[in-house]
């Protein structure tokens, strides 16, 4: 197994050592590259961490599997995007120009939390481990039911489907009770 594949697998599995070693490895170059933009040191570090989170997230979703660049190049593309997004948020940049397209997903709407979401988050944390896991795989890692069946060792796809359905239904019931009570 070559080093790139090893990194991708490590990220995909959420291996802390892999993440830590990349975090250390890319940081100086990223900060040097990012220093030409008008952001504070705190902001830069925050953007760097967001980019690293996005890298891990995309690895989990399988977006790094067919990469035609190195992981490092991919990471720096994300970083660049993140810098521009931050500048835009601070109204220092109006157009997101000059960004090549690359297979990278990051939906910013997830950053905002309203009260409803906070409540739902607490309810989710109180679900059983099995439910948390299946929902996490499906909605966050974007695994399809076939993959989930294998990963969670279910008898077959229908069992996985039923299990997921039950978990959603249960969570919805809790949410309803909470809102009415």
């Amino acid at each position: 197994m070559n080093k790139e594949t090893q990194i991708i697998i490590g990220l995909k599995n959420g291996d802390e050592r892999t993440i830590h070693s990349l975090y250390k490895a890319y940081k100086p170059e990223f900060l040097a590259f990012a220093s030409k933009y008008n952001l504070t040191a705190d902001d830069l570090l925050d953007v760097y961490q967001d980019a690293m989170v996005a890298l891990c997230e995309n690895a989990k979703k399988g977006n790094l599997e067919n990469l035609n660049s190195t992981v490092k190049t991919y990471f720096f593309s994300i970083g660049k995007y993140m810098i521009f997004a931050r500048l835009k948020k601070k109204k220092q940049l109006f157009a997101m120009e000059d960004l090549e397209t690359f297979p990278f997903e990051w939906e910013d709407e997830y950053e905002e939390m309203d009260e409803e979401i906070v409540i739902l988050k607490n309810l989710f944390k109180n679900l059983g481990e099995q439910c948390q896991q299946i929902l996490r795989l499906f909605y966050y890692e974007e695994k399809n039911l076939d993959e989930i069946t294998v990963l969670m060792n279910y008898e077959n796809k229908n069992v996985a489907k039923t299990q997921k359905y039950r978990c959603i239904k249960y969570l919805k019931q809790l949410f309803k009770d909470r809102n009415n009570g």
Partner: protein, 232 residues
């Protein structure tokens, strides 16, 4: 196709154009729209939770060095690095290559995968069948079940660690290898694999420490001495 399946496919991003049109039309139905909206909320909640957890982890990477004297450390380490770099120019061993040439999957010596037809398959046999098929994810799951029900089964711990190594989950492997009180049966192996693991994750100093230990009496004595020499 029932509505739940449409929603599922929507989240799997696997709707066909026809199904996508159907999905769009159904959104006019309040019950359907509410269901989609609720599941989107679940997605949002989990995404938020996962991102926050990971970001907290990254922040701890920052706090691992103290900020006082940071500049001094930085300056000093530049000199040390520079010095070492010049000193070792061209002769720094490549850890990955060394790892690859010394690492071997630990053989299955527990449950030979041959059995009589009428036997029921035990969990142990199942785990090792997957292990031998190199399906380490599945093997791991069963090893973990075995550990939960009979924590005294040392082999389940050991083979879990090896499975983690095969899956490049080095932190998990390290946790088990260094955190278990191994009997004589696995003690040598644990040290040897720890040495390789540290090498793989670019910690030659830690690796050397384990190799030194293994070079004393272990059954990996010969390899350890060899590897130590190559690391120097």
């Amino acid at each position: 196709m029932d509505k739940n399946e449409l929603i599922q496919k929507y989240f799997e991003k696997s709707l066909s154009p026809e199904e996508a049109a159907m999905f769009e039309n159904l959104l006019a139905d309040k019950e359907f729209a509410d269901e989609v909206a609720f599941q989107k909320k679940i997605k949002k909640v989990i995404t938020h939770e996962e991102r926050a957890t990971l970001k907290d982890k990254l922040r701890t990477f920052e706090n691992q060095k103290t900020s006082t004297d940071k500049w001094w450390y930085a300056a000093a380490s530049v000199f040390v690095l520079l010095g070492t770099a010049i000193w070792f120019m061209g002769q720094k061993p490549d850890y990955d290559t060394l790892y690859a040439s010394y690492y071997e999957t630990y053989p299955n010596v527990i449950a030979p995968v041959v059995r009589n037809n009428n036997d029921t398959i035990t969990d142990t046999e199942k785990a090792f069948a997957y292990y031998e098929k190199q399906d380490y994810n599945k093997a791991l799951e069963i090893f973990q079940t075995i550990i939960r029900t009979s924590p005294q089964e040392e082999y389940a711990q050991f083979y879990s660690a090896i499975s983690y190594m095969e899956l490049a989950k080095f932190s998990e492997a390290s946790k088990i290898l260094s955190g278990t009180n191994w009997s004589k049966k696995y003690a040598d192996d644990a040290i040897w694999y720890l040495a390789l693991l540290e090498l793989k994750t670019d910690n030659p100093d830690a690796s050397r420490k384990f190799l030194l230990e293994a070079s004393k009496t272990s059954r990996y004595q010969k390899e350890s001495l060899e590897l130590l020499k190559k690391l120097d």
